[in-house]
Amino acid sequence: MRKFLEGSHAVAEAVKLSRVGVISAYPITPQTHIVERLAEFVANGELNAQFINVESEHSAASVVLGAEATGVRAFTATSSQGLILMSEVLFNIAGLRLPLVLVCANRALSSPINIWNDHQDAVALRDSGWIQLYAENNQEVHDFIYQAYKLAENPEIMLPVMVNMDGYILTHGMEPVDIPSQEEVDKFLPPYTPPYKLDVENPLSMGLLGDPTVYLETRYAIQKTLEDVLKLIPKIGEEFKSIFGRKGITLLEKYKIDDAEDVIVAMGSVCGTVKDFIDKKRKEGLSLGLLKIVTYRPFPKKEIFNLLKDKKNVFVLEKAISLGSDGPLYTEIKSLFENSLPKICGFIAGLGGRDITFNTLEEMLTIGRKEMVSSYFLDVNHTLLRDKFFV
């Protein structure tokens, strides 16, 4: 059924149809309408869930962490300062491998106080272990919710997903949105069956001390799982398309890129403007295309490299900056095109207090002389790792 909705309400409809059990959130502009509408759904009985009011975003994130730990599908939404206040808990949610879905209504960070859109809030959390998707329009953000739960709750993934939508431009912008039936959603998104949960009948401990002998492996496991996410996202997108008839999630979206000499790279709602701009410039005889980054974490390096390697000019347009360095997206894309000497390899070591010894450095030299690596983990104890959850 097509409805004329603002992006916030399109999200609330999708969360309702995803049959979440616990919602906790703290209001912040421009996210407020999402949770206001969800609170209405719970109050009028349309959604059988607990809506837990809290005193801050840190508490909201803690509540949904707890809900997910007990095996319940949970949801929260926030923005800007709220996301940053949540950040301590967000790293924990990824570390605990809990499949939460969070919508971030992207907004600038203080100071000065600014309630309008950019991507600095979410981009600042890019190293947290969360999967990050960026929506271009209201239909996309609606559809991303179902697919985000499907992706996060895959028993071999078990990582949280942050669905990003541009504050105001999408949250408050009205567009026709195709809302599927509950039957269709149920067919795509079965009830959540956690591989493990907090349960008094079968007690276990979560969030334990991970000393220098095990911490590094937990990070390595997330890094490897995010590589699996790159393979799973197109499959989930295909399955979504087969049920709903619309395009599903992808790593990237190409717009008139194949024959283009020059390419603009961007994320989020600005891609709509860029597409119209490309149409205009093509009429003027310019060979221009767009590469839209849908999945920013994990970063689809190979795919981006293959699409950009034969282009003449690449323009990376981003709404965030790593102050004192460059735009994060620019830095990452630029790092894919390092052909000339010296060869630069990247190594990860010493996480969580693991000693970096001469042996570590020897391994680095051996690997670095032989291969081209960008995030090679040194000193990994593979006996600590499994394909599935284990106790």
Partner: protein, 85 residues
Amino acid sequence: MFGPLVAKPGSSKDNKTGSWRMLKKPRFLHENCVGCGMCKLICPEACIDKKDKNFYEPDYSYCKGCGLCSYICPKKDIVMVKEEE
């Protein structure tokens, strides 16, 4: 892929916190003990046990050497000594 994330109850027993002890350890003199049990109650590792009447002993596998038992003992019957003594 998953690293070690969860544990069954009781796993703290595997964590021999006695290895954290530095410089000093408590010595129970067993001379003036009146059996008040304050050492057992205050021990943050709960590693002091009553073995007999007026006779308490710490489990050095878990004792971190914090010295609280020595501090609280009303009879000064527990003293902190160098690890090698």
